[in-house]
Assembly symmetry: C2
Homo-oligomer: 76 residues x 2
DNA sequence: AAAATATTACCGTTATAACAGCAAAATGAA
DNA sequence: TTCATTTTGCTGTTATAACGGTAATATTTT
């Protein structure tokens, strides 16, 4: 799970955003961005989804029971 | 996000587990399973990860900035 | 059908994440 | 280096998810 934090941080940097800016854009507090990037798992799924959406990152699930994979953070 | 709930429910059924059993195996309360399957987004990432792990479901992220995709709920 | 099991729903209580504010490091620019 | 910005860390307060218990439906089994 530190992986996700690094990915998010990388995307934020590339977008030229500060933690505070990303927080505001995502509708969460700055602490949440800080925590996520630090690898904290005790954040709300809600908050994470908003951040991922802001950064245009897709979230998918995959298992042997499924054929292929499925995006879970898109409309509809 | 209702999608994730359905996927989890499907996997649980296929595994022959009740909500309570899945909850116990995942170390969360029964309410959490119920909420996740109902599509509630205000659950902790922590809880969701435990459930996904129990059901052997991989969680991945993908974006244009990355090459390919990356599994985020595995060891190391 | 009835009986048993499972799911959904609601309710206090408790635990804890979210938050803003501030200060201290760290980083980067001039 | 100095100055400005950003990040990290901490600290109360507030908001709310997690939890177990219980009850009402719904589903499955016999």
């Amino acid at each position: 799970m530190k992986r996700l934090g690094k990915i998010i941080r990388g995307h934020r940097k590339k977008a030229g955003l500060t933690q505070k800016e990303l927080a505001d854009l995502s509708g969460v507090g700055k602490t949440v961005i800080f925590d996520i990037e630090k690898g904290k798992e005790t954040v709300q799924l809600n908050s994470l989804m908003n951040v991922l959406k802001t950064l245009n990152i897709k979230l998918k699930v995959e298992s042997r029971l499924m054929d292929g994979e499925e995006v879970i953070n898109e409309e509809s």
